[in-house]
């Protein structure tokens, strides 16, 4: 008699979602997490007294409506804000606003406006097909069984039904880079850069890196969902974690926090449970890891418990990241040149040109912190005053690119890099320096330490074609199963990947139920 049907490692959003679906289907589920807060990267932290910030992810781009519906997240208290415009800040204060299909400001011409609408239409066509592919297991190409063949046939049909031009375009651009695609479509440098930023967020790629069209499509998927773009979660991203914990528990799952899984335990040739850092061993019919594949295979299971081919693939899985996070507690609302309060609550982007993004990327390749970065800024306390003391504000920004292990190490240069980032903001928001009550810079190793994401990679492993779809995380461990009986994956390292979608967790649960993993 095992203690549980399923033990899920990690109470991040995917772990909680997977657990909720399994518990809903009648399984006895235990969800374990090392942190004292559920939600994983969906986390809110008090960075300074009274100033609470989304510690990791700050935007909800593409959280799947189906999950909100299935699990009743709204009834459980999930509140999201209004859809954000993207305001691409320009040096001269005449900013570009991207609002759904519409562009305003920064001298945008009718040609770019028309091109943007056509581009969005085409991305919608691609996004619809992609969403279908994302909402189920990715079909195997070799050894495909009937359900996989059916999926492949539907995919083929879907491609065909887009029409010849769209299909040819998709095949043509999906493996190339966003830099070329932007130049093909648009003239306005600010527009190109603002869109390209979506393609590189959370990755180890620059706009000219191959694969960045795929990551762009991954991001643009949000347009197919109810939110139709970027929103903030009221209460900070941690509120999503809290709601998911509540929902999991309502469905009958047990969530145990401050419980570090030390090892995945094998009995004979199958996984039978986990050992906690306090020495407790818990048994289950299935162990489902929402930790990233490197953590799962290298640290929790150990390469020595895998066949050589699998160990090699796990060891070669790429998990680098160049994403950092800037946290500022501000005594007052900052004054960005050319922006009123309503505009300040939108998504603010500092990425003047694609070359500026690429130039920020270049030094990182050589483990250096470059002089200039690009920013994706949120001032969530405008829409949600609960996040800061009255009249005061919080600013969080995704910063690209800072290396995982810069030459000379982080400790000697962390303060200098932080000061430089603030200096860069000062150019767009004069006086912001004087408003800072507290500041903090989180770099990739900080995310690895705090959230267990190897390499600090937000996607639990680079989301590139060679590690995506039917090859995510790597061949032999796809479709949420691993090469070892009893061990499954449900995190962002599984199809379809990261960025608070919830689909890996949902797909994994559905797939396991279908395959009779608990029989």
């Amino acid at each position: 008699m095992t203690d549980y049907d399923a033990i899920i490692i990690g109470a991040g959003h995917n772990g909680l979602i997977c657990g909720s679906y399994l518990a809903k289907a009648g399984q006895r589920v235990l969800i374990l997490d090392a942190r004292d807060q559920a939600g994983g990267c969906a986390s809110t932290r008090e960075v300074a007294p009274g100033f609470r910030m989304s510690d990791c992810a700050q935007w909800l781009y593409q959280f799947d409506d189906a999950i909100v519906r299935d699990l009743g997240l709204e009834a459980a208290g999930l509140k999201v804000g209004a859809r954000k415009r993207t305001v691409a800040l320009q040096a001269d204060g005449d900013h570009l606003s991207i609002d759904g299909d519409f562009l305003r400001g920064a001298g945008i011409g009718t040609k770019d406006q028309a091109a943007f609408q056509a581009f969005r239409e085409q991305m919608d066509v691609f996004g619809k097909l992609m969403l279908k592919l994302y909402r189920g297991r990715a079909p195997k190409l070799v050894d495909a069984n009937w359900p996989d063949r059916l999926t492949l046939m539907k995919l083929g049909l879907g491609l065909k039904l887009m029409g010849k031009t769209n299909m040819q375009d998709l095949m043509r651009i999906v493996l190339i880079n966003i830099y070329d695609v932007m130049n093909e479509n648009f003239d306005h440098e600010g527009l190109k850069a603002a869109l390209a930023l979506d393609a590189i967020t959370g990755t180890n790629m620059g706009p000219r890196s191959p694969n960045t069209v795929y990551t762009y499509l991954h991001r643009a998927l949000g347009n197919q969902l109810q939110s139709k773009g970027v929103v903030q979660v009221m209460g900070g991203m941690g509120a999503l974690g809290d709601v998911l914990q509540k929902v999991a528990e309502t469905h009958g799952a047990t969530v145990r926090l401050s419980s570090t899984v030390q090892a995945i335990v094998k009995e004979g040739d199958r996984v039978c449970g986990v050992t906690l850092s306090d020495g407790t061993t818990l048994q289950a019919k299935a162990v489902i890891s929402s930790a990233d594949p490197t953590t799962t295979f290298r640290d929790l299971l150990g390469y020595q418990h895998l066949e050589t081919g699998t160990a090699r693939r796990a060891a070669q899985y790429r998990t680098r990241s160049g994403t950092a996070k800037l946290h500022l507690a501000l005594s007052d609302l900052p004054a960005f040149s050319g922006l009123d309060t309503a505009a300040l609550s939108q998504r603010l982007v500092i990425a003047p040109t694609m070359d500026a993004i690429e130039s920020a990327f270049n030094p990182m390749k050589y483990a250096e912190c470059g002089p200039k970065q690009v920013f994706d800024i949120s001032i969530p306390s405008i829409e949600d005053p609960s996040l800061a003391p009255s009249g005061q504000h919080v600013l969080t920004a995704l910063v690209h690119y800072l290396p995982f292990a810069p030459k000379g190490g982080w400790e000697g240069q962390r303060q200098a890099v932080l000061d430089n980032l603030i200096e860069q903001l000062e150019a767009y928001a004069p006086g912001i320096k004087g408003q800072i009550v507290a500041s903090e810079l989180l770099v990739p190793p900080d995310f690895e330490a705090a959230y267990g994401m190897t390499g600090g990679n937000w996607h639990h492993g680079e989301l590139s074609i060679d590690q995506a779809l039917m090859m995510r995380p790597f061949p032999g461990s796809t479709q949420y199963k691993t090469t070892i009986d009893g061990l499954f994956l449900c995190g962002a390292g599984a199809h379809p990947g990261g960025s608070l979608m919830g689909l890996p967790g949902r797909n994994a649960a559905k797939e396991m139920i279908k395959q009779g993993a608990f029989a």
Partner: protein, 394 residues
């Protein structure tokens, strides 16, 4: 490292000066990048040296890897299909290893020299695979291929000759045992192993002692009719004794280009080497599935009527081709026409009556012969002296 006066493509072995001096045929082959003799003076006479007196074969080109460290046993157990934990210190075990798909990459011998100290002799270069296999294990892999010279000393008088050389008490060494001696002040390792199915030993020394070893061996062995043997004679002996050979009877799986041309241990008649009681080894889950669902091929030893070797023959059941021959030889000692065949399942069960389609040529005249054959249980050549301890004196 063996040096040469000029850039050459095939390397000489540490015994080359002596081998060359005795290679009257001047018939050379390429064995894994080394110059090795196909035949020294007469293939049949060399073969009969193995069976009647002693044949000496230079096996220095074998790849030798030292595997040491706290996880050495666990490392090998994960890599090979057999259970290495059961291998005692100073014992040798034959082993195969597979990729994750359960397809044989190579076969070789594992010498257990200590609790945490092994030597693996492989046919293929295995540096990359051995390195990849270290992920997660505390082991050190050293390629010793050029640090060790080896001679196979095989045949009824081999024990006597080696005892005269200084291997005192060698007759007490059991099959697959290892004994350590000193030769010319340097270590010399002798294992009772070989590729001939006869009483025989393999002798390992540093390259610096190689020439002296050869000289003294032939000096002491002269009265016991010691002869050098080339790869052709060895091939006859190994077929007679029932040993398969990489690149001949199977293609190492990492070299196979075409789909379906690899073989599993089951398909090579090596199920006795697969120990499913081990919770993990490379290929285990694939082999379990094969065991449940059936193999594609069966390895069969055939006793064929007549004396025409069935080289490259098609094997028929009635009108249907059910397989092909991979190795074939007329075996003089057992006086049988033996072949190894890969047969499509379910053919090839012991006792199965089949037909070998043999083509042979005499003075440009080709003859096609349909020779009845029968699947036999094991090698016909299996002399007592191969297993006896103490080794019988001759």
């Amino acid at each position: 490292m063996i040096t040469s006066s000029r850039d050459i493509m095939l390397l000489p072995t540490p015994f080359h000066s002596r081998v060359e001096a005795m290679c009257d045929m001047n018939d050379w082959g390429n064995w894994m990048g080394y110059t090795t003799p196909n035949a020294y003076f007469d293939v049949e006479l060399e073969y009969f040296a193995i069976r009647s007196t002693t044949g000496v074969f230079d096996l220095s080109p074998m790849n030798k890897y030292r595997i040491t460290g706290p996880d050495a046993e666990a490392y090998l157990n994960r890599m090979v299909t057999r259970n290495v934990s059961k291998l005692g210190i100073n014992r040798v075990g034959y082993a195969v290893w597979c990729n994750d798909a359960g397809q044989v990459m190579d076969d070789g011998t594992i010498f257990r020299l200590g609790e945490q100290d092994f030597r693996l002799c492989s046919y293929q270069r295995a540096d990359d695979w051995l390195a990849w296999c270290t992920l997660g294990f505390d082991v050190t892999i050293t390629n010793e291929s050029e640090d060790l010279a080896g001679l196979a000393v095989q045949g009824p008088t081999s024990c006597t000759i080696l005892t005269l050389l200084g291997c005192e008490g060698l007759d007490q060494l059991k099959p697959f045992g290892i004994a350590h001696f000193t030769f010319e002040g340097a270590p010399m390792m002798v294992s009772r192993t070989g590729f001939t199915g006869d009483l025989g030993y393999e002798v390992w020394v540093a390259p610096a002692q190689a020439e002296a070893l050869w000289d003294q061996l032939f000096e002491h062995g002269r009265e016991y009719l010691i002869k050098p043997i080339g790869s052709y004679a060895l091939d006859m002996a190994r077929i007679e004794a029932g040993f398969i050979q990489a690149h001949v009877d199977f293609v190492p799986s990492e070299e196979v280009v075409r789909n379906g041309r690899t073989r599993s241990p089951f398909e090579l008649g090596l199920e006795w080497l697969v120990d499913f009681s081990k919770p993990l080894f490379n290929g285990r889950s694939a082999l379990l599935a094969e065991k449940a669902n059936g193999s594609r091929y069966r390895f069969a030893m055939l006793d064929i009527e007549g004396n025409k070797p069935a080289e490259h023959s098609f094997i028929m059941k009635g009108d249907k081709v059910v397989g092909t021959v991979t190795s074939a030889a007329w075996c003089p000692t057992v006086k049988s026409n033996i072949a190894y065949a890969q047969l499509e399942m379910p053919h090839g069960a012991v006792g199965d009556e089949l037909v070998a389609e043999i083509y042979y040529q005499r003075e440009l005249h080709w003859t096609r012969m349909l020779a009845p054959c029968r699947v036999i249980d094991g090698p016909l050549f299996n002399p007592k002296r191969r297993r006896q301890t103490p080794a019988p004196p001759f």
